[in-house]
Each structure stands twice: as structure tokens, then as C-alpha cells.
Amino acid sequence: MNFLMALEIGLREIAAHKFRSGLSMLGIVLGVGSLIATLALTDGIEKGTRAFMEQIGGLESVRVLNKDISNQNFEFWNLSPGRTLLDVEALRAQAPLISHISPELYLPAVVGSEEGKSERRQVRGVFPDSFVVNKHTLTAGRFLTDLDIERATRTAVVGFTIADELWPDVKPSEILGKVVLINDSPFEIVGVLPRYERDIDARARADKRPPRYAGRQGRWDPFREKNESVNIPFSTMFFEFRSGAFPMNSLETVRLDNFTIRIGDLTRFREAMEQARAALDVTHKGVDDYDLETREEWFDRMESSVRATRLSGGIIAAISLFVGSIGIMNIMLASITERVREIGIRMAVGARGRDIFVQILIESMSISFLGGLIGIAASFGLLEVLSAVAPMDNPPVTTLGAIIFSVFFAVLAGFFSGIYPALRASRLNPISALRYE
């Protein structure tokens, strides 16, 4: 007996008992539905988190942080100047695997327009590398350049929120050339950064819906810092707001408020970190008052939380599939009891035990396969309901791989639940089966 024939018999049997078959499929439908939904949710979270990580600098970004000195170095704490411009020079000279170095000075300042609007904001003195390290793009104008540093020009590149606050309803290209007052010192705006936001908020805005979390105070906006940034040349910051002279001969007097570096080639990450440490150990005179903060731990933590979610969803789906397969087994056992005579007839005309076995097995696999197909539809419904009841940060991503994976497991469940009934059917004695009433 060939496969198609067995399939045809199986489908006819299912069609003949639509309600019963539907009931027995239910567990599989739910199992596959929840499995696909779980995978879609976790894939969504993973994708969203990855995109966010990518936008805040990705794995390549490493922050140089201040650290409390360990006890054994405690008495030498004053040997180290801390994070200074000297570190920048040392990294430039001795760590070729570090592609970008972004030291920053911070100034909490009143940022205002000539029209009289003002806000308290953090102003940053940056090098051009800062725009690369922080993965900035532009809507209008240009970034700060080496020439701006060299000449200590009075120029500024502002984030979307700043531009929107000071000059609402003015196009970014028209903001260029306007004057922004930082603690009453005038700076010319040469660049405007775009509005950074998550996909889901961008979509909500495009649909003219209120942002998903509008009104929910205290919710962390991952892009707030980028959108609120006011960037001026590092040198200008130093001259204007820190000291009278830029001390090129004693760089270690310029202490940094923030210090981020970028690894050029991620495949040589470890090597690059060692180079950075070697250079910084010299400038810090061997005092362990700094630390390199990589995003690796973030990624690991994120991935393990996604894994945990996936696992718990998977277990629920597996239980559902298991219950479903017991349901199918039950139905198949009932079905063969009902069809003992049919099996006897088939055996009398020459069906071997294995023909009957294959027929019953294909029947139960067909039920579970159909259940799986319905489960695909169910998963979309489930995701709709879930996102209506509990809005998600990250929209779910249903992949073809997840669908195939889930349906495969459904068919596998059908296979295992069919084995016992099929074995029983194939071992029937043809004589007693023919006599069975």
C-alpha cells in the first residue's frame, strides 16, 4: 500500500467524523498556536533588544568607567590622575585596535533660544568620534569636525527634543544657523539629529495614534539621552566653561566626565581590550581606578532572559501538545475499535500487519498535521488577543522557521500517539476481526 492511498483513507476517515476529529485536534491546535506565539513573542523581544543595542552603540562600544580602588592600592590613589585626556592620547598611540575614542565633558546648563525659550539640559563637549561611537545620524547640517576642535568654534549639534523645544514647528533645515544660548553664550547650530525612537512608537506616530506609553510617567525611554543631547566641540567646552587655557602639554589635567571607546574589529575584541588595558594601566600608573564596561554582559543577560521566556512558553506548548497527543491516541483507539471489522476485511484481502500499521499511523499524523495548520491560524489570533490585552514593547515576529518547527512537532506528537493504536490494529487476528460485530 502506498503512502497516498493511506493518506486518502486517513483523510476520508477524518472527514467522516468531523466533530470528533476536530475535538481530538484541539490540544494540537492549542499546542501549536501557543508554540508559534511564544516563538513570535521571544523573537520580537530579541529583535527589538538587538535593534536597540545596535542603536546605542552595539557590542563594539566599551565605556571606560571610574572604579573604587581596591584596598591594596588604596594608599596610591593619588598617583593616578583618573580618566583624563592623557588616556585618549595613550590609546591613540598604543591601541591601534581601538578605532574610535570619545572623551566627553559634561556641563549642566541652561539651554535657550534668542526668542526666550529655555530648558535645563546637559551639554556635552565632544570629539567628532562621539558621533560614530553613539551611532548618530543627521537630519540636517553636519557633525562637528576636527577643525571645530582645533579652532574651538562656537558651534553646536542638537538633538531632536532640543530643537523641538526651542523652535517648535520649524523644519530642521531652517534651524541650521540659528543661535542657541548655553548659559547665555551664543553657539551656532550646524547640525540637527533625527528623532530616535523605537519601531513601535514610530508606527504609532505614523498612524496618528498617541504613543503607546504616552502619559505613563517614569517609563524608561532608551533614546531620551540621545534625543536630548546638545553637543559642542570639546575644546570650546574647555575654554568657555572650564578653564582659560587648553593645556596641550599637561593633558592629564583635563578630567573626563564620560569616556567611551569603540572596537574596530569585533573578531579581535579580546585583543583590543588588552591593548586598551595596557595603555590605560600606564597612564593610571598601575592604579586600578578604572574599569572597562562592555555590552557583552548586557547581551548575555538579554539572551538568557529571552531563553528563559522561550523555555517556559515552550514547556506550556509541550504540555499542550502532549495532552493533544493523548487526545489523538484516545480517538484512534476508539476509531480502531469501531473499525475492527474493516481491518479484518482488509486483512482478508491481503493487507499485512504493517499495511494496517502504516494506515493508522498516517491517519493520526494527518489529524495532528491538520491540527497544526489550524494552530498556525490560532497563533495569529492568540497574538492579536495578547497584544490587545497586554501591549508589548516589541511587536512579535512570526518566522517561517518557527511555523515549520511547530508543525513538525505537532506531526511528531501525532506520530507517537499513533504508534500504540496502530500496533494494536496491526496485531488483530483476521478471523476474529471478521467475526467482530
Binding site: M1, L4, G344, I345, M347, G350, A351, L434
Partner: protein, 226 residues
């Protein structure tokens, strides 16, 4: 070489610690082209004998050779293979599959013989016409009369061109006129060279054959030509 050869065949059933000897040292030979009736009251062992001859079962003791296959100790699979190739069954209660139409019922043995779909259909349709069901191909058993059902069953028994056709009380569920027609078909088949074995309790039907084997208490009581 005889088509069927039984030598000292016994069949013993065990129910609890009771031993039931359904067949007791039967010696029987059937040649190709014979028309044989096996007759006996119920409980005589004639059904057990037919199950053995029909390759539905194996003997407890003795030697059984059917169509050149020694099936004394055969496995279920080799029995099934012989059943499929060499034997056609016609049952008292037709034993058709209610969910299948005439053609699908008739082609059933071909399914298990591994005949490709298209060929299977052609052969089943030809057989249906041969047993006089040419205009009923797409009907289900429930839409057919008893006589027509038995014709479907005969078609199914013949479609694989077996060497022996067994009839197990084939007229038992039919009125006498229809039964007569079915017996006519069996006689025609025999005239065309098929070996026919009828199992019945009715001496009148047995009288249609050319050799009658009477079974009682698991033994051959007598053998005669009517």
C-alpha cells in the same frame, strides 16, 4: 501438483485449560479446476477448515501446502501475501467497506498488491463490468441490493485473478432467486477454470458442486460426488 494439500492437519484451540480439537488429522487434496463443497453442521469444524484453506490461519499440527507454498508454520505476513495473490473470499455477509464505492471496494486487493492507481482503477472497472455492475461503479454498498453487494464481493474476490475462490455460505443472506444467480456465477467461474470451494450447511447447494466433503467433529466423515 495439487493446488491444496493437507496432510494430518489438526487445529487445536485452548480456552482456559480446556482443549478444543476443531480439526483432527485431516487429509485433503484439491486439484486445480475442481468445484468442491465442504458441508457439515455448525460446530463441525468446517469454518476452521475454510480458515486454514483460505490462509487466514495456520494449523497446530500437520502439513499444509497451498498453491505450492508450504504454510504449515507460515508467518502472518506470508499468509497475507498468499491470500492477496492466490485467494479470493466471498462471505455470507458480503463484508464490503461501507465508506467505499463499488470500484474502490473491488480494487482493495490490488491496493495491497501494490498495483499503481491508474491500472488498479482500470482493472477494478473491468471486473465490475464482468460481474454485471457496469452501471453501478460509483455506488456505495448501502445503495445496492443484496445480490448486487454479493456481486461486488465476487468482483473483489476475482480482481487479483486468484487461483482459488472461497465462498463462505455465499447465498446465506440472499433470497433463493438471487442466491441461484450467485451460484450460477460460481458455476460459470468454475467452467472457466477457476477452483471453487464452497462452505455451506445446505446439502442442496452442496449438490451443485462436483465433489462434496462432509465434515463432522473435526474429521472428514465422507466424501462423495453428487
Amino acid at each position: 501438483m495439487p493446488l491444496v494439500e493437507l496432510l494430518g492437519v489438526s487445529k487445536v484451540y485452548r480456552i482456559g485449560d480446556q482443549e478444543i480439537r476443531a480439526l483432527d488429522h485431516i487429509d485433503l487434496t484439491i486439484e486445480e479446476g475442481e468445484f468442491v463443497s465442504i458441508i457439515g453442521p455448525s460446530g463441525s469444524g468446517k469454518s476452521t477448515l475454510m480458515h486454514l484453506l483460505g490462509c487466514l490461519d495456520t494449523p497446530s499440527a500437520g502439513r499444509m501446502v497451498i498453491c505450492g507454498n508450504d504454510l504449515s508454520r507460515a508467518s502472518a505476513d506470508s499468509l497475507a501475501a498468499v491470500r492477496n495473490r492466490e485467494i479470493g473470499f466471498v462471505f455470507q455477509s458480503f463484508n464490503l467497506l461501507a465508506k467505499l464505492d463499488v470500484v474502490n471496494n473491488i480494487e482493495l486487493p490490488l491496493v495491497y498488491a501494490g498495483v499503481p492507481t491508474h491500472q488498479r482503477r482500470l482493472r477494478a472497472e473491468a471486473t465490475a463490468r464482468a460481474v454485471g455492475l457496469g452501471d453501478r461503479l460509483a455506488n456505495r454498498p448501502i445503495q445496492l441490493s443484496g445480490g448486487q453487494c454479493q456481486r461486488v464481493a465476487i468482483g473483489r474476490a476475482l480482481v487479483n485473478n486468484p487461483r482459488i475462490v472461497f465462498g463462505d455460505e455465499p447465498t446465506g443472506n440472499l433470497d433463493s432467486a438471487t442466491g441461484e444467480m450467485i451460484l450460477e456465477i460460481f458455476r460459470d467461474l468454475n467452467a472457466a477454470g477457476k477452483t471453487i470451494v464452497l462452505v455451506t450447511h445446505d446439502p442442496d447447494i452442496a449438490a451443485r458442486s462436483r465433489r462434496v466433503i462432509e465434515i463432522r467433529d473435526g474429521r472428514v466423515l465422507r466424501e462423495y460426488a453428487p
